[in-house]
Symmetry: C2
Subunit: 308 residues, 2 copies
């Protein structure tokens, strides 16, 4: 038997316990804050409790349950124990689905339909063709590029903005800070899938919102720190922006008293666009436990010197 | 100048007036209930007032603003005046967009996210792959078939049910009443795009809901008369069904006191999935007024002997 401790102070991953046991009957699972966690050989974690590894004398493998490992390395003495991560090949699919729902939500006026429903009001919502609905994608990397391609396939008028010039069939290309305002000015929906860097932190700010046309909407599914929340609140309250679909926040979980939860026009989702699926987490963690037992190479090992 | 009367006792089409004038400066527009309507040469209508045509001595052309002309022919003396309709080539696009929003809504748990937002509750919503989400499309005609094809393209597990057997790549085919329960039993979402016939009236009833698995959802965008509303209300209230996205109703507009407006799990939209776009209505009506003036053949004439 191999004992796995599920260590998360952030998201509740306890529901993975029976799934791991079903994937491999030779696995026993304990879930933090069960004190027996410190006896486990394998730590499956995201935002684990501080200094937990040094209290685990039997630890042989640390397995992050996401692709981003920053939360499991911070303030931790990892030592010689190998660290692996879960890389879900369906992440882009998840992002495509999330953005597509959001674009359709604004394009087909479901936002207005939901407001009208609250009033029991049957109000006609004219339909416009996708080809006259302009969607801009910020960031054209592993997630933004497939999103842009799918939007083109569905007939939307798609623009893309990235740090450096690139070319995607059917996508009007903009690059660099110098073209940012031009990129923004005609869009009906702006989608942010950027990575978080010094250059992109706070990029969704009052200046960007002012560059957008009245009635534009924002879909934010990169990192929470891209957004200046007070600027978004102002642009929504003064009616310049139509709405926002927000999946990421500088502080997650978003605190219950945050103004965004109940601001008209804002939809808050719990960082769900493109996280690894439970099934994939279980499959990869169970497979790596098997690899560990058999002395085989581990999948998706993390290079601690570069942090991913 | 040609005077056009916009005659609708159902949907407010008055906003088309300036669009028609912009399309052709030689057009004057009056909107019901303006008494000057009876002097017009062209009637652009949907559910016009009863017996209006016989009060219009100058009437030269009746133009329905939708593809379905039943509402403009009932209880009306049309006489020798030609009747045309608007056939929007983008109707299937509209239906695809509407259904796609609905499928993504249930697949990616936006229904739960919106409920959680009302409680300011950050609750994790696990992601499953499209390939494990089963969508069934009832009706594989001009609208249902392209919907099924698009769902396959996005990776969903798609089944189709129609009166007679058919074949669409990647779609599991069911046909006829004998296979209806088998079709329904494993679906996560059932989409109804059927035409309304004696056989399909009331097909979304208690027996159909009982044949669906617990937690299934319904998207109804065929005709309102497909649904037995009291059976849907019961299946939602007892928790068997997860939710419903409803675009069509036996009585439209849906009366303000109808229970569906505020039933948890139900989204009511105002028959917006796939109506002709304003731009296309204006384009085709203006073009036919031009044809009428020039003595050219009219586009999309209606054969009154068969009713379409």
């Amino acid at each position: 038997m191999t004992t796995v401790a599920i260590l998360s102070t952030y998201l509740p991953f306890g529901h993975l316990a029976p799934m791991l046991k079903e994937a491999d009957p030779e696995i026993d699972v304990v879930v933090w804050p069960d004190p027996a966690c410190v006896e486990a050989e394998v730590a499956a974690c995201l935002h684990p409790p501080a200094h937990i590894y040094e209290r685990m004398p039997n630890l042989k493998l640390i397995h992050c349950v996401s692709a981003g490992v920053d939360s499991i390395l911070v303030d931790q003495v990892v030592g010689p124990v190998p660290v692996c991560r879960v890389v879900d090949p369906t992440l882009a699919d998840g992002m495509i689905q999330y953005v597509l729902w959001g674009v359709l939500h604004f394009h087909r006026r479901f936002d207005q339909a939901l407001v009208n429903q609250r009033d029991h009001a049957w109000r006609r919502l004219p339909r416009t063709n996708a080809s006259s609905f302009r969607v801009g994608v910020m960031g054209l990397g592993q997630l933004g590029k497939p999103v842009a391609i799918q939007l083109v396939a569905l007939g939307y008028a798609v623009s893309g903005w990235a740090r450096t010039p690139g070319r995607i069939d059917g996508v009007t290309a903009f690059a660099g800070e110098g073209q940012f305002s031009d990129f923004l000015k005609d869009l009906d929906v702006v989608v942010c899938t950027l990575p978080l860097t010094a250059e992109t932190r706070g990029i969704l700010n009052a200046k960007a919102f002012a560059a957008m046309k009245p009635g534009a909407a924002v879909i934010a599914c990169g990192r929470g720190e891209h957004l200046v929340p007070s600027d978004l609140v102002a642009a929504l309250r003064n009616g310049h922006l139509r709405g926002a679909l927000l999946d990421v926040f500088a502080q997650e979980p978003l605190p219950p008293d945050d103004a965004l939860w109940s601001l008209p026009g804002v939809i808050v989702t719990p960082h769900m666009a493109s996280t690894a699926s439970d099934a994939e987490i279980v499959r990869q963690v169970a497979a790596n436990i098997h690899n560990y037992r058999e002395g085989k190479p581990l999948a998706f090992p993390v290079d601690l010197s570069c942090g991913y």
